[in-house]
Amino acid sequence: MAVAVATLVLVAGCRRDEVQVYRLAKDQTPTEIPTMNTGALPPGHPDVAAGQESAAPLTWKTPAGWTEVPATELRVASFKVNKDGKMVDVSVIPLAGMAGTDEANVNRWRGQVGLSAVSADDLHKSGETVDVGGQPAQLYDITGTNPASGEKLRIVAVIQHRPDSTWFFKMTGDAELGEQQKPSFLEFLKSLKFSAAPAAQAGMPATLPPNHPAIGDMTAPPAGGPVSHEGQPGWQVPAGWQEIAGGQFLVAKFIIAANGAQAAVNVSSSAGDGGGLAPNITRWRGQLGLPPTDDFSATQIDVDGGKGQRVDLEGTTAGKPAKMVAVIVPREGQAWFYKLMGDPKVVDSQKDAFIKFVQSAKY
C-alpha cells in the first residue's frame, strides 16, 4: 500500500506538468504590445495618441511641449521633449511583481550617471513623496555625468508600488532641461488615472501575503495583517508601543501615542558599520534642523554582545519642537540603528523604555 501511495505521489507530480487546454468567452485582454516589424500600430490597436479612451488601463494629460511617441517594448507610455537642442525622454514602465528593491533600482540609476551607490537608510531620506494618480510614490532626483560622453545627465525617477506591479516613471536627459521640465513631469504624474483592472489583468501581489501558509500544508488560515517580523532580532517591546509596517527600509517601526502627541521608533540595519558615527550624527542633526557640528561625542551603553553608541538631540521637525534618542549598535558585519523621535514630552517619557528595548534585543 505504501508503494501504491508513493506511486500516486510521483504520478501526481507529473500531473502538475500537464498542459491545460480550455476555451474562454472573449474578455477584455490587455492592450497588446505592438509587433516590432511594422512601423505602424497593428490593426485594431487603440489610437495611442489619444490615450484618453476609457477602455485603456492608463490615461493622462500630456503636458505642453511634450511629444508623445508610440508606446513600445516595455513602455506603456513614452514622450520626448526637445528644446534648444537639448532633449529629455520620459518613460512609463510597469513591471509585474516587485521588480527589485528601490535601493537596487536607485543605485543602478546613480551608476548610470556616474554616482556611487547609497545605503538604504540614506536613500529613504533622499526620496521625496509625490502624487501619482492619487496615490503616493517615491521620487528620486539624480544628477551626474554620463560616464561615456561627459555630459551633465539628470534622471528624475518615480517608483510606485501598486497592488500587482511596480511602476517606474523616468525622465532622463539633459540636466538643465530636466530641471525645467520637472514641474510638468509632476503635473503629468498627478494627471495619471489608473482605471479599475478588467478581469483579465494578470499579475501577482507585490509580496506574498504575510504568514503565508506552507504550500500543501493544511494549517488554519493566516491571521492577516501587514506587519512581518522577518529579520527582526528577538526583543521585548515595551507596553504602549504599536508596531506598524516598516516598509522597505526598516526592520521594524513602532508608534507611541500619548495625549494627542506622538513619537516613532525606527529600527534599521546596514551592512558594515553603516557609515560610522559621524555621518549618521550629521544626518540625524539634519533631520532635526540642526547644523552640522564637529562634536561627534556619544554615550556608550551596554547592549547584548557589546556596547552601543547613544546620541541625544533636540531640534525641530516641520516647525514643531522635537527630540531624538538614537543608538547605533555595531555588530560583526552589520550595524543596527535604533531611533526614537518625535514630540519632546513623549520622547522624554519613553527614553528609559527605549533604552531597555534596545538592550533587550538579541540577535
Binding site: 500500500m1 501526481a12 506538468d17 497588446e32 497592488p163 478581469a199 494578470a202 503565508h212 492577516g224
Partner: protein
C-alpha cells in the same frame, strides 16, 4: 514468520530508527531553511525520497527524505500489524489506533500529492473566475481568432525549463522552440553590466536586455521567469519572442490566417463560478492602528447551477464551495482590494477522522484494561 525481510519490516527497531531519522530530518531541514528558503527546503528535505549531496560530478543520496521515511513508517506499521494481529475484543483498540495513524500518514501523502493552493486577488468591484498560483508560471498561447471564444493552451513553465521544444499538433499548429529559459530573471531597458541582448525578432523589440538571476530564497520573494521562444512551422516563422513574467501584456502574432497571443503569466486555475468583490473592510481597534478584522463581502455566481448569493469571508471563516476553500489571506495596502487564498485539498478531512479514530482506539484500549482490573479488585 521467519522470513527475515518481513521480520525486518515489522520490527519495532525499524519504527524507532525511522522516528529518530525523522527528528534529525526535521531539525536539519529547519536549519537549512535559513539559507535555502522555505520553499526550496521543503522540496529538498520533505518532498523527496532522498537528500542529495555532491560527490564530484555525481549527485549521491546521503540521507533519507520525508517521503522515504514516511513510506517506510507506513509499511512498517502495516507489516507489524499483519504479523502480530490476533483477533479479540481487547485488540480492537489497537486496531483503531493503528488504522488512525495509517489514515493520517496516507492522508498527508495524498494532501501533498493532490492539493493545490492559489490566490485570488480582487480589487473592489472586480469579478474573477480564476485564481493564480503563487510561484508557478505558465506560458499561455491563446488563439484569438474566434468570434465569441478564445482557445487557451497553457503550458506550465516547468516544462519549458526541461525541454527544448513543445510540439503537439492536436493543440497548436506550430512548434514552440525554447531557445533559452531563465527560471529567475531580470529585465532592463538599458544595457547594464551582466545583461545581454536577447535575439528577438518580434514582439518586445530592441530595447530590452536580460539576464539570469539566482533563485530567490527569501520567503516573500518569488522567482520571475523569462524565456526566448521561437515559433516554428515547416514553412517559416512569425518570429522569436521574449516572454517574461515581468511583462503583463500579451504579444501577438499571426499564422495561417489565425491570430494568436502569447504571455508568460502566473499559472491560472479557471473555475465554473465567479467571485465578485463587493466590499472589503479592514477594521482596527478604535484609536489605534492595530488590525481587528479583515473581511470581504463577495458575490458568488455560478451560471450552471444558477447560484447567485453574497457571502462574507473573514478571518477563520472561509468560503467552502466547489471543493475549494477561500480564506481571507491578505489585502492591498490602500484597502481597495482583497487577496483570497484558494485551497483545493481533497484530503482535508483525513486528519480529523484519524484523530477521532486514534482517540477512540486509545479510550477503548484503556478501558479494556481498566474494566477487568476494576472487576478483579471488586471481587
Amino acid at each position: 514468520m521467519n522470513n527475515p525481510i518481513l521480520r525486518f519490516f515489522s520490527s519495532v527497531r525499524l519504527t524507532v530508527a525511522c522516528l529518530v531519522l525523522g527528528c534529525i530530518l526535521v531539525f536539519w531541514g529547519t536549519v537549512a531553511q535559513v539559507h535555502l528558503g522555505l520553499y526550496k527546503a521543503q522540496n529538498e528535505f520533505f518532498r523527496s525520497f532522498f537528500i542529495y549531496g555532491q560527490a564530484g560530478d555525481l549527485k549521491v543520496p546521503i540521507f533519507p527524505g520525508g517521503y522515504l521515511i514516511g513510506s517506510v513508517l507506513l509499511l512498517n506499521l502495516l507489516v507489524a500489524h499483519a504479523r502480530y494481529y490476533k483477533p479479540g475484543k481487547r485488540k480492537i483498540g489497537i486496531i483503531l489506533i493503528h488504522f488512525g495513524i495509517v489514515l493520517l500518514l496516507v492522508g498527508q501523502m495524498l494532501t501533498d500529492a493532490l492539493s493545490i493552493e492559489s490566490q485570488m486577488h480582487l480589487r473592489i468591484g472586480e469579478t474573477r473566475n480564476f485564481s493564480e498560483a503563487d510561484r508557478a508560471f505558465e506560458l499561455a498561447v491563446i488563439d484569438t481568432s474566434g468570434k465569441d471564444t478564445d482557445q487557451v493552451v497553457a503550458i506550465p513553465a516547468r516544462r519549458l525549463a526541461h525541454s527544448d521544444e513543445f510540439t503537439d499538433p492536436k493543440l497548436l499548429p506550430f512548434t514552440l522552440r525554447i531557445k533559452t529559459y531563465y527560471a529567475n530573471s531580470s529585465l532592463m531597458e538599458q544595457p547594464m553590466a551582466g545583461y545581454e541582448k536577447p535575439k528577438i525578432t518580434a514582439g518586445l523589440g530592441s530595447n530590452v536586455y536580460w539576464r539570469e538571476m539566482p533563485r530567490e530564497t527569501e520567503m516573500n520573494r518569488v522567482d520571475v521567469p523569462s524565456a526566448l521562444i521561437e515559433i516554428a512551422t515547416p514553412h517559416g516563422s512569425p518570429g522569436t519572442f521574449l516572454v517574461s513574467g515581468f511583462v503583463e501584456r500579451p504579444q501577438a502574432f499571426q499564422l495561417d490566417g489565425r491570430t494568436y497571443q502569447m504571455i508568460l503569466r502566473p499559472q491560472r486555475f479557471y473555475k465554473p463560478f465567479s467571485i465578485h468583490l463587493v466590499e472589503f473592510h479592514h477594521d482596527v481597534y478604535p484609536g489605534t492602528d492595530i488590525p481587528k478584522n479583515f473581511s470581504s463581502r463577495v458575490r458568488l455566481q455560478n451560471l450552471q447551477t444558477k447560484e447567485d448569493r453574497e457571502v462574507l469571508i473573514y478571518m477563520n471563516n472561509p468560503l467552502r464551495y466547489g471543493g475549494e476553500t477561500f480564506y481571507q489571506a491578505s489585502y492591498d495596502p490602500d484597502d481597495g482590494g482583497s487577496v483570497l487564498q484558494d485551497v483545493r485539498n481533497p484530503g482535508w478531512l483525513t486528519p480529523y477522522f484519524s484523530c477521532v479514530l486514534v482517540a477512540v482506539g486509545l479510550v477503548w484500549q484503556f478501558l479494556s484494561s481498566l474494566i477487568p482490573f476494576l472487576k478483579r479488585r471488586a471481587a
